[in-house]
């Protein structure tokens, strides 16, 4: 990152003037933390006592045999407290907030995972908490909303724009510019104005730092390839960062939605649909029209359904240090199904994109090689989406019956 927050020609901090001083303070505190080994130690201690770091690296023997190619290893971010890698970032920012003495946090959330993680952190650190969530995502991820509220957070459904992640981000910024003095905005992914992309990647880099030791121990040498799904890019950056120093191919898998040519997807880097732009505080490749208006995106995975992408990844893409692929909703459901049946592991819909991307290629590698798939989260929170997508009849009946019961209660 250069002094203005750029990675190559991407990134920066395109922020309303009212946030200028807050960003100065944030950058200063962040720089202090990076220089202070005690901060990272405190972070590691927190993550290993409150969440369960190091998260394991699981050898997926059955999947490996099924494809007959490289040995598949799964980095288990799903075993984090709150069920996803989001905890890494949020707990790190929580420690920062404590140092800065702010009393309130806000966050946007798409899949609800980042909102859950932030509400959790706020409860633990005794902070007020407001979560912005696109109305459409509130509907897709109701259980998460329930838990966030139970943990004391206020969840505000955002009814503007496409009513998904990007609109929640705008709304969080509106809150922030209003309550800038006592509030920290816990950005949920490696996007947004500097220093967020770098800071979030730093906290997430714990994934790759652990994985490098784990794969050497399990496999004796570096893996050939690493796969991660890419929404904003934080779990991908988290596992990629450490491996950029090594001779390992890094593959980001974006949300192919109904297909690359359908117009209903969220492929920023693996298709030519995206163009350079500046929004939500940073410069990157956006899915936008010729006027610069952001397009509607689609993915079965709420957490990947986003118009922009980490400027760090865009830079790495431009420099050909990371390869980008996409997986369609349908491929993802198949990958999910196979992983459940073969390994007893339920990836989040987001993470299942990384699985789908890996499954396409792993058979071509030698059985002596290894790949790592970053399982960013667990899928059991996605029950409403997954059971829906599989059109499970007993699930539907169960919901119908429950609904009738509640209807009766309210009318009777």
């Amino acid at each position: 990152m250069d002094a203005n927050g750029f990675f190559g020609s991407w990134g920066g901090a395109y922020i309303p003037e009212v946030l200028y001083q807050t960003f100065q303070d944030l950058k200063l505190e962040y720089a202090r933390c990076r220089k202070d080994p005690a901060f990272w130690e405190e972070y590691i201690h927190l993550m290993s006592t409150y969440s369960c770091r190091p998260t394991p690296l699981t050898h997926a023997e059955n999947l490996s045999n099924h494809f007959g190619g490289a040995q598949i290893y799964i980095k288990r971010e799903d075993l984090n407290h709150t069920g996803a890698h989001k905890a890494n970032n949020v707990m790190g920012q929580g420690l920062l907030v404590k140092r800065m003495g702010k009393k309130r946090v806000i966050a946007e959330t798409g899949a609800g995972q980042h909102g859950m993680a932030t509400a959790t952190m706020a409860a633990k650190f005794g902070l007020d908490c407001t979560i912005y969530m696109g109305e459409e995502d509130v509907l897709r991820q109701r259980p998460n909303v329930f838990w966030m509220e139970k943990m004391g957070a206020t969840v505000i459904p955002v009814k503007d724009g496409s009513r998904t992640l990007k609109d929640a981000i705008n709304q969080a910024f509106r809150d922030w510019v209003t309550n800038v003095d006592d509030t920290h905005y816990v950005f949920g992914t490696a996007c947004g104005p500097a220093p967020f992309p770098e800071m979030v990647s730093w906290f997430q880099s714990i994934i790759g730092i652990e994985a490098v030791d784990q794969i050497i121990q399990a496999h004796g040498k570096m893996p050939k390839k690493i796969y991660a799904c890419v929404g904003g890019g934080s779990n991908a950056m988290g596992i990629f960062k450490r491996f950029l120093e090594e001779d390992v191919e890094l593959v980001g898998v974006e949300a192919g939605g109904h297909g690359a040519n359908s117009g209903a997807h969220a492929i920023r880097l693996a298709s030519s649909d995206a163009t350079p732009g500046v929004a939500q505080g940073y410069k990157t490749m956006f899915l936008q029209d010729e006027d610069g208006q952001m397009k509607h995106t689609h993915s079965v995975a709420a957490g990947l359904d986003y118009v922009g992408v980490s400027p760090i990844l865009t830079d790495l893409w431009e420099k050909k240090l990371v390869r980008f692929e996409s997986a369609t909703d349908e491929e993802v459901m198949q990958a999910l199904d196979l992983t459940m049946k073969k390994e007893g592991i339920i990836p989040a819909l987001e993470s299942a994109h990384a699985f789908a991307g890996a499954f396409r290629e792993v058979g071509k590698l030698s059985v002596d090689d290894a790949i790592i798939i970053n399982q960013s989260g667990r899928g059991d929170k996605d029950i409403f989406t997954i059971a829906h997508a599989f059109e499970d009849p007993s699930w539907e009946k169960f919901i119908i019956d429950r609904g009738k019961e509640y209807s009766k209660k309210h009318s009777g």
Binding site: N4, G12, A13, Y14, I15, P16, E17, V18, L19, Y20, Q21, T22, D160, G161, K166, I169, N170, F173, R174, V177, T178, N179, V180, D181, T275, P276, G277, V278, A279, Q280, G281, K283, F286, Q288, E290, D291, G292, Q293, M294
Partner: protein, 252 residues
């Protein structure tokens, strides 16, 4: 533009700038509203080119942006319309928009076309000077004033820095937050305006939540221009374009 404003200030205690969102509810209504504004003494108008992610705008202008886009408003339409309006009315006009609109159009192309039609300034709330090196250079080249923003969170140093890059006038946000809701003009506000004045020789425009003659009266003697934003949009929504003229007339 600074000169133009200073000239007007010779005869008026305070100037008035208004805000419209191009294409909301339609360019035809915009035309009528501008007509009413100008003929009732508005001194300067910022025309917002709608953007899908107006992160610094409150609910009223946010909705206006969305509806303008939903109605099919294109950047090209905005230029054509602005060219026509500037021809018709002899007050300075500015484009207010977010940086992506300019970036995507091509910075130089955007400046060139704006200069060609006689646009006087740009207000870009998500482009701090650090991010706007080429933008500021082009502004200079094409003689279009880059209007920068002071806020109550700006330190004195920051204000001076902003002032060194700003042209035309300084837009002083009356408070933290987004456009739309009411501001308080108490002691803190006065101290803030004092700091603004000390930091720059440019005219000071005060905006965010100014809605009535009383609000404007408070500003007299302390600021050079009052900015009415969301209020007239709401007025058009509830009472139609023809209500704007009388409203403006009553403000002084």
């Amino acid at each position: 533009m600074e000169k133009q404003l200073r000239k007007k200030l010779e005869n008026k205690e305070i100037l008035l700038m208004t805000h419209i969102v191009l294409g909301y509810p339609s360019l035809d209504v915009n035309r009528e509203v501008i007509e009413q504004m100008v003929s009732n003494g508005v001194d300067c108008i910022e025309m917002q080119i709608p953007f899908s992610e107006p992160m610094a705008d409150g609910p009223v202008i946010l909705k206006a942006n969305q509806e303008a886009l939903a109605g099919g408003t294109k950047v090209d339409d905005c230029f054509t319309f602005a060219a026509e309006i500037i021809q018709q009315h002899d007050i300075p006009f500015l484009f207010m928009t977010y940086y992506n609109i300019i970036f995507k159009y091509g910075e130089e192309a955007f400046f060139k076309r704006a200069a060609d039609i006689g646009m006087k300034g740009f207000i870009i709330p998500d482009l701090p000077p650090e991010m706007g090196e080429s933008f500021l250079a082009l502004a200079d080249k094409y003689k279009i004033a880059p209007v920068l923003i002071f806020t109550p969170t700006s330190t004195d140093t920051r204000m001076e820095e902003l002032a060194s890059h700003g042209r035309g006038f300084i837009y002083c946000a009356a408070r933290r937050g987004v456009t739309g809701s009411k501001s308080e003009f108490g002691d803190d506000f006065k101290e803030y305006l004092g700091r603004c004045r000390a930091a720059t020789n440019l005219p000071l425009a005060v905006g965010f939540g100014i809605r009535s003659k009383e609000d404007i009266d408070v500003l007299k003697g302390k600021a050079d221009m009052a900015v009415i934003g969301s209020r007239t949009i709401q007025l058009v929504e509830s009472e139609g374009a023809e209500a704007v003229g009388p409203f403006i007339a009553r403000l002084r």
